[in-house]
């Protein structure tokens, strides 16, 4: 399947065609790189919603996009977590241990504000009825 400008007539704007160009080139590089999520799993979930593609590069692009999305969220959550722990360490001024606590644990407290910035509201009940 030819990945060229001609194959995507729906995109006519210059910015998008530029992005399409860049991504087309990127797609060629993608053949060597495999994302963390296996191809078969991504293909399964895409097939469930009707998206069938014989080109594995497209699958890998989607997998990579989801991975990047996830890592963005995780980075934001990490920022929240660091803010929290740094404020706690500053409060306990007596530092027996020189290096700061390096282990970060992701909890819902960090995740919810990080998701909030992306427009995803994840409200879990504190108790189960």
């Amino acid at each position: 399947m030819q990945m060229s400008r001609m194959s995507s007539p729906s995109i006519g704007m210059d910015e998008d065609s530029g992005a399409g160009h860049a991504l087309t080139d990127f797609l060629l590089q993608l053949e060597n790189y495999s994302p963390s999520i296996p191809d078969s799993v991504v293909a399964y979930y895409l097939n469930m919603s009707g998206f069938e593609s014989q080109d594995p590069r497209l699958i890998r692009l989607i997998a990579l996009a989801s991975q990047k999305f996830l890592s963005d969220i995780a980075n934001d959550a990490l920022q929240h977590c660091k803010m929290r722990t740094s404020s706690q360490i500053n409060q306990s001024s007596k530092n027996q241990k020189g290096p700061k606590e390096k282990k970060y644990v992701m909890t819902m407290e960090d995740l919810v504000p990080a998701l909030q910035e992306y427009g995803i509201s994840a409200k879990k009940p504190h108790y189960f009825v």
């Binding site: 995507s8 919603s49 009707g50 998206f51 959550a77 390096k102 282990k103 909890t107």
Partner: protein, 277 residues
Amino acid sequence: MSENTEKVESSCDARRRILNIAVSTVLLETGFHATDKMSLETLTEIVQCFLTEVGNSAKGYCELSGRVEPVIGDVMMAIINMGINLQGIEQYAARPNRHVIQPPQQAPVPRTPAMLSAGSKAKPAPHIPFHLPPLPDPHAYIRTPTHKQPVTEYEAIREKAANQKRDIERALTKFLAKTSETHNLFNTDDNQVFPLIACKPTFPAYLPCLLPTDQVFDFDELEYHFQVANRTEDMPADKKDQSDNEGENGGDNENANNSQSENQDAPTSSSPERNKT
């Protein structure tokens, strides 16, 4: 609705677990050392919904422009429409500390053992598509009669009946000749050649039929003894001679009771006295 999704999730449990692993990998790369279950499940759910949504939107864009196979432009439109920023994706792809998960191995399909199969299954005819299940055992749909059509001619049936009757009679007489007393035509001791069933009538003749008895093991325990079919093998030796004598004499006696007691080879105390008298 939630039940439907639960059922769907249970069927693709393995893939969900792989997504869990992938999400954990991404978190590890980010710098986290641990996470709690709820966060992990939330992120996994987000990833699954992301993939589903991208697939849906890309398919929609593809069909909107009159195509059937999605193209990269469709995928890009879908992602951008969702608001995902893909600016630094190339740098992200080239990051140094990336982990790759092994693709899941295909588990072998468990073969149901062929139980209760008799005979070999026939090959499907060429007009049957190959993806249909195989034919059942041939005995399920093929009927072969186990016997020939019996002969219904009158002559043949009469002949068969006559043959059967003759064979039955012959077999029975041979059996009786071998097991019970025999007469001898010739004046020799051994009578192997022409055994005749000895005919020794008992008096009264109907009495053994009215009072049937099982096989006699111990003559001393008998209350009554009849000479069943003139059988003398079971009798003890001394009584046999007496009963033979008594049997010959008993025919002349008109008294039914006396003849009964004479014919008896009874071990009771009263009857030997009667026999001796």
